[in-house]
């Protein structure tokens, strides 16, 4: 009988475990990384002597720069909205009894896992000129002409924030619920008022979660396509829409690849900077586990 002692995980055993990783790794390299790499290469080789021309051409066109600006602006606004709405919600989840907290959690998780397309579609139905809100207000006689809610920046923000809210709430909640209530008691014992204790003890302790949430939401918002395409107006075009148009309408793979590389670079740059402040694994892990 062979007796295995703890810690003896070297030699053949280690190789055996490592081997298990190979199928998934090879799979990702071939079907996920290879497309990204070839596309990046294509940004320099399509047309054959392109070099950096796709990139310089991108920055030369006003419309592209505006799209870049829109992308950052809309991502920022969405993050802000999610923060303002999500922070109280996450906080609420920590102070209500367990059962209610569970319900609130489901309230966040259900839409989180629902199709993004369905939810955006729903907002379209609600916001358009002949949609739910306008029909309601018109029928009541509160307005005489439909309000323009769709094809506006506001419409995009409403839709995107709706979809991104869970990504803000979940990391924040994960941090908040670990904040020891003892701190609160200690603060009260030292004479702090409830609001003072909240602002000076709770909030600073919740910051890692806030950072994680904001980072996640911002980075995800940068790459959104479906929602801005359906809810946004002419002046709200984001980079993702430009990329798709380059591929589908202008057939310009070189240009599209260059834009894609730029978007990836921006995304990774943000993540790199953020990784100084938060553990990326925690950030994305909380979005992936239940």
């Amino acid at each position: 009988m062979k007796i295995e002692r703890p810690g003896r995980l070297r030699g053949p055993a280690r190789d055996r475990w490592a081997v298990l990783v190979l199928p998934a790794l090879v799979f990702l390299v071939v079907f996920f990384l290879a497309p990204l790499v070839t596309m990046s290469i294509r940004s320099f080789t399509d047309p054959p002597d392109a070099g950096l021309s796709n990139y310089t051409e991108f920055f030369r066109q006003d419309a592209n720069l505006r799209a870049l600006r829109n992308t950052f602006w809309i991502a920022f606004l969405s993050t802000l909205t999610c923060l303002l709405v999500g922070y109280p919600y996450a906080y609420l989840m920590t102070i209500v009894p367990g059962r209610v907290a569970g319900l609130l959690l489901i309230g966040v998780l259900l839409p989180f896992w629902s199709s993004l397309l369905v939810r955006t579609f729903a907002w379209q139905v609600i916001l358009r000129d002949t949609g739910v809100i306008n029909t309601f207000l018109l029928d009541l006689g509160l307005i005489s002409e439909p309000l323009t809610l769709i094809r506006t920046t506001g419409g995009v923000i409403i839709g995107m924030s709706h979809i991104l809210l869970p990504f803000m709430v979940l990391p924040m909640y994960a941090v908040m619920r670990r904040i020891d209530p003892e701190y609160g008691r200690a603060a009260a014992n030292l004479g702090a008022t409830p609001s003072s204790a909240f602002l000076r003890v709770f909030v600073p302790l919740s910051l890692p979660g806030v950072l994680a949430g904001c980072l996640l939401v911002f980075v995800l918002a940068l790459g959104f396509y479906i929602t801005p395409a359906l809810l946004g107006g002419l002046r709200d075009q984001m980079i993702s829409q430009l990329i798709v148009d380059e591929v589908q309408q202008a057939l310009d793979w070189g240009s599209a690849s260059a834009m894609a590389v730029l978007l990836m670079a921006i995304t990774f740059a943000f993540l790199f900077v953020a990784s100084r402040f938060v553990h990326l694994r925690d950030v994305f892990g909380s979005a992936v586990e239940e």
């Binding site: 062979k2 295995e4 703890p6 995980l9 070297r10 280690r14 475990w17 298990l20 990783v21 199928p23 998934a24 990702l28 079907f31 996920f32 990384l33 497309p35 596309m39 109280p88 906080y91 609420l92 102070i95 609130l104 309230g107 966040v108 998780l109 839409p111 629902s114 199709s115 993004l116 397309l117 369905v118 579609f121 729903a122 379209q124 139905v125 609600i126 358009r128 739910v132 709706h162 809210l165 603060a187 409830p194 003890v201 709770f202 940068l222 790459g223 396509y225 479906i226 359906l230 993702s240 798709v244 591929v247 599209a256 690849s257 978007l263 990836m264 995304t267 994305f284 992936v288 239940e290």
Partner: protein, 265 residues
């Protein structure tokens, strides 16, 4: 003595909370009633009650084939991703090899890269490999997107399980494979199932990659929806949306039940 910060204006907080829940759920709750309308266009509140749009989903060739295709892709994706991901999770949590951090990072990249970039990258390459517009191509693409979910969920289960159980099994003479099948696997099963369900849902709802990797002959439900969605008029789209939602919700509730019944460690 109650914690000092647990005494906020309760009503305000409760109101905010309720409003937020309303914001979160309202849109989807609008769609569901609309799918039952008798009228031929979508309206809210809906007129009458009819199941005709659900019927249409099964009888209309385009919708029904979309439904079948979506199911096929999602099931195959779930299987493939779960197998690959579980193996990978085992390797990552149990193994000690150089480059483990990098592999970990690679495993999470599908979550980070904007999906539109993934879509066109895959489109370009898969066309050259002649798998674009086919079941195979889409399953491979969705599996790549779903892998992180499996790896993280199974990984968590593996990390939190009691290793002593495996050691005990080894001490009793079981070889690693047997130990895995009879000890480890049952314990991590909730994590594996969670990964499988998330993989299914990811594929079932996925639209951007599908837009590029499907063709007129092979199309999934979300892509059919995307084609139709700008017109916002056909209640069939509402019926399809509700179906997508219901399937997802059922699976999630299933997951909650499974979690609750996880064997004690």
């Amino acid at each position: 003595m109650t914690e000092s910060w647990r005494q906020p204006r309760r009503l305000l907080m409760a109101a905010l909370g309720a409003l937020t829940v309303f914001y979160l759920l309202a849109p989807t709750l609008v769609i569901i009633p609309m799918s039952f309308t008798e009228a031929s266009i979508m309206s809210f509140p809906p007129e009458g009650f009819s199941l005709q749009w659900y019927e249409r989903m099964f009888t209309d060739r385009q919708w029904s084939s979309g439904l079948v295709n979506s199911l096929q892709v999602a099931v195959l994706t779930a299987i493939l991703a779960t197998v690959l991901g579980t193996l990978a999770a085992l390797g990552l949590t149990r193994g000690r090899f150089p480059g483990r951090t990098i592999v970990n990072a690679i495993a999470l990249t599908p979550l980070i890269v904007p999906v539109v970039i993934i879509a066109i990258g895959m489109f370009s390459l898969f066309v050259q490999w002649r798998i674009s517009g086919s079941l195979l191509g889409l399953v491979l693409a969705h599996t790549a997107l779903a892998l992180p979910f499996v790896i993280v969920n199974v990984g968590t289960s593996l990390r939190t399980m009691d290793r002593n159980l495996e050691l005990a099994a080894a001490n009793l003479g079981a070889d690693p494979r047997r130990s895995f099948m009879r000890i480890t696997l049952p314990i991590i099963l909730p994590g594996v199932l969670a990964g499988a369900i998330f993989s299914f849902i990811t594929s079932w709802d996925e639209v951007v990659v599908a837009i590029f990797l499907t063709s007129a002959r092979f199309r999934t439900l979300p892509v059919e929806m995307w084609e139709q969605v700008r017109q916002v008029v056909d209640p069939t789209v509402a019926a399809v949306s509700t179906t997508l939602l219901v399937v997802t919700t059922v699976l999630l509730l299933l997951l909650l039940v499974v979690r609750r019944q996880a064997p004690a460690r």
